[in-house]
Symmetry: C3
Subunit: 360 residues, 3 copies
């Protein structure tokens, strides 16, 4: 899909702080893959080989971590070279160029759609767009320029900050708080009731949940995520937390800032995650477990023991990734080990026999 914004290569190079090689006046209207590149497209190429391939496409510009002058003589054929924007953090530069080119999310009209139901005690900031069939409950607050897409429900007392964007079907639970500039994807539930029951031999008693979910600024919460309110205190996400789809956040979980979490991961009650942690997909963090700052949890790990700051774990139970990988590969050698053990036993028995009867 192309975008409608128009920049020159020079605009983009300057925006991303890169060094420009070649044509600076080419007009760029879209970011594409190498396969879909066209004369007004910018593409991304990491490494020499990718840059060579990119130079062979009709792309108007390339962002790369390789300077084109290290590649040697230009590609033959006479076709004008694409411009190359060199940036040492090329992926980030490409993301920033894409942000410029991205036309943004669908725009709801500012104001309240006639089918929306907004409680008279709710307060809406300037420039808020309230879509069709939205419900804003009593005492809710919605910050300036925030968009509530079709069917969003803010339960009573919920507060959504400035410049947020809530996609269709999102539900925000009672008294929950969403920080400024946060984005919540379709059908996510922020502020369901925590799962708390006291069970004995012959009873299951419900523990009511008094806390809220409090989400910081600049967060993203994926489609069909479920974040539960805390039992007494709150469930808390810091700033700039990015959750992929179908992530479960149990009651009283505390996630720091700048944390990324991939799809289908679950945080059991009271887990604590440090800043800049990177949690992959289908991970389970057990009750009350801590993952330290900049900790990395690899895909499908089950984390039963705390992860120290900067730690890198995998497996179930999760342990240092390198050890876990080594051990896991040995599982594939178990049949061979079992056979060797059998053979050794026979050889030892033969030696014992040769030596004559013994006490043991």
């Amino acid at each position: 899909m192309d975008t409608r914004r128009v920049y020159t290569v020079a605009d983009l190079a300057s925006h991303v702080g890169g060094t420009l090689f070649g044509q600076d006046s080419t007009v760029i209207t879209a970011a594409t893959s190498l396969e879909a590149a066209h004369a007004n497209a910018i593409v991304f190429a990491e490494g020499r080989q990718a840059l060579r391939r990119a130079l062979g496409t009709p792309a108007g510009a390339i962002i790369s971590d390789v300077r084109p002058d290290v590649l040697g003589p230009p590609v033959p054929g006479g076709r004008p070279f694409p411009a190359v924007i060199f940036a040492s953090r090329a992926r980030r530069a490409m993301a920033e160029a894409c942000q410029l080119l991205f036309e943004g999310y669908p725009r709801e009209a500012v104001g309240r759609h006639p089918t929306a139901v907004v409680d008279p005690t709710a307060t809406l900031g300037e420039g808020v767009a309230v879509g069709p069939h939205v419900v804003v409950g009593p005492r809710c607050r919605v910050g300036g320029r925030t968009t509530l897409r079709a069917g969003v429900v803010l339960d009573e007392g919920a507060a959504v900050g400035d410049d947020c964007y809530l996609f269709p079907g999102v539900v925000i639970g009672p008294n929950c708080v969403i920080g400024a500039r946060s984005i919540i994807h379709p059908n996510a539930v922020v502020g369901g009731e925590g799962f708390g029951f006291v069970a004995g031999e012959d009873y299951v008693t419900k523990q009511p949940q008094f806390g809220r979910v409090v989400v910081g600024t600049d967060c993203e919460i994926g489609a069909c995520c479920t974040l539960d309110r805390g039992t007494f205190d709150d469930t808390v996400l810091g700033d700039d937390v990015k959750l992929d789809n179908l992530v479960q956040v149990g009651h009283n979980v505390r996630i720091g800032s700048h944390v990324q979490v991939s799809a289908q991961t679950a945080f059991a009650g009271r887990a604590e995650i440090g800043d800049y942690a990177l949690i992959a997909g289908q991970v389970g963090i057990y009750n009350g477990i801590r993952v330290g700052e900049r900790g990395r949890v690899k895909a499908r790990a089950g984390v039963l023991r705390n992860v120290p700051p900067g730690g890198d774990v995998w497996g179930h139970p999760a342990r240092g990734s390198r050890a876990a990988i080594r051990e896991t590969l040995l599982i594939e050698r178990l049949p061979k080990m079992a056979r060797e053990l059998e053979r050794l036993r026979a050889r030892v028995a033969a030696l014992e026999n040769a030596e004559g009867p013994r006490g043991t």
Copy 2:
């Protein structure tokens, strides 16, 4: 978050059947954590150490499984002691006190919101609250005092019992049944179509699903759970079943009563779960597998073999927890075992050499 209900410590002690030590007239308006305790708060303390800490907070009352008089002399400082309610099942007592203090879920106005669409052939009990944008299909029945929050959809023929509470975005499939006093959390789907296809070399043929989902009384179903209708017979949940978020229940699963299931667990088709079973999070129960009464399945287990009544399993494939833990810890010793095996082989070879040439 504080609550608005007001009780004295004596009220609470009597309600939970506990023994009261200290002030009985303190007014309690809220249940909090130790950290957030205040003079009108009740807190929970399990064990001597926690009780000592709780006594040092400004809490007005404490529920504990420890009698304060066993702690020895009172804390110095002259501050009036918090009252202590001793109860042998202290967690349950705390939950019951909290139920008293909990102000309940947000209340929809009784009657039908003007934006709701209720089929004329549907029947609604006394005191039913139908929220904005709700849809109640043909031949549906809704029991007395039940609340349907914003955007709930009851598909044709669905029946919801008395005193139920369906949070926003819940969808109940055609002809499905929800028992009295059940709670369904946002965006859950009870009664999607079972996943049934017959596949061969060159075809995938759909097997239509004729069954329903039938949920007992006093159940809770978490946010974004998906419960599928049965193929010919029904998918059945007993009474007092509590499902956390994002739980998948396949067609023709039968779950007994008083069962608790944590988040992201999946029950494949025809699984059967006995009463009082406790199933942790991210568990997978394979097709047709039975978990006996009071069986416990620990987190992330994959259950391929039946679990006997009272059994306790972990791992994938799930097996007795103690064995599974012992075996799993040995995986971490595999590199060492492999090295030892190597060394032993060398030593045996040396012994064989020393003994002279042999037949093997």
Copy 3:
């Protein structure tokens, strides 16, 4: 649940291409389990034993892969035999008979419900049924005879083909495409934004997502599934793809045709799945991994390495199922192996001692 359609046994036998034994004029109105069989029901029996049991029920007809005349003399008692439709692919025949008997999904009235919000730039085909509280955005296209149930949202530019059925709460993202005859179950999200961030030491930069989700014809997408749009190119599902509930499809995943995927499986970004692949539940396919045509991935596998066409894998890391099962069973023997290793070491040491002091 019974159905309302009425056929004779002869009709059904001819529809499924089976060989009829017994009464051909019995009227069949329902498909049931053996337990719920009645005189107007057709039931399914695979294998001799099941057929014998089925013959003992009051069912009016049986579909079986066993010819009744191989069973020997008829069941005593004088009750008229149920008719038996013999079909070598009996499961498929039963599914086809059920399709005939199935009364179909709930029907929305053709036309636009007065509460629906349809953008004037959207185009709707003949016979489209738009339910209550539906939102159809700018430039959307909806094919003929398609049903949009309550609360469905088509975001701007989305295109849904002919004869589709979207259950309540489904959200289709901007510019996404759904092929003809596809079915999408409640609260599924097709076309959420891909999860793309570039992270460094002290930043998390968003990578906007320009692609779409493009779903082929005859697909089914389960309740609360989440399919993400591609980064530059599209996320693509072929024809006749069947996804169970709560499945995650990351950006730029490409799934072939006739693929079945069970519940809670996740495809990380750029995974590629060949035609006729069969992916079980709770599976994780890692970034960029390929599963070849007719590949089978068993339940809960974590697929880190490509699966060749026709391959059959299990475990985490997934590997050939037979090897994975053998190795996994050996894990349960690890404690025994550890003890044996210990004993062998002692025996070798004893032998070494007996032989006198040695260099090593």
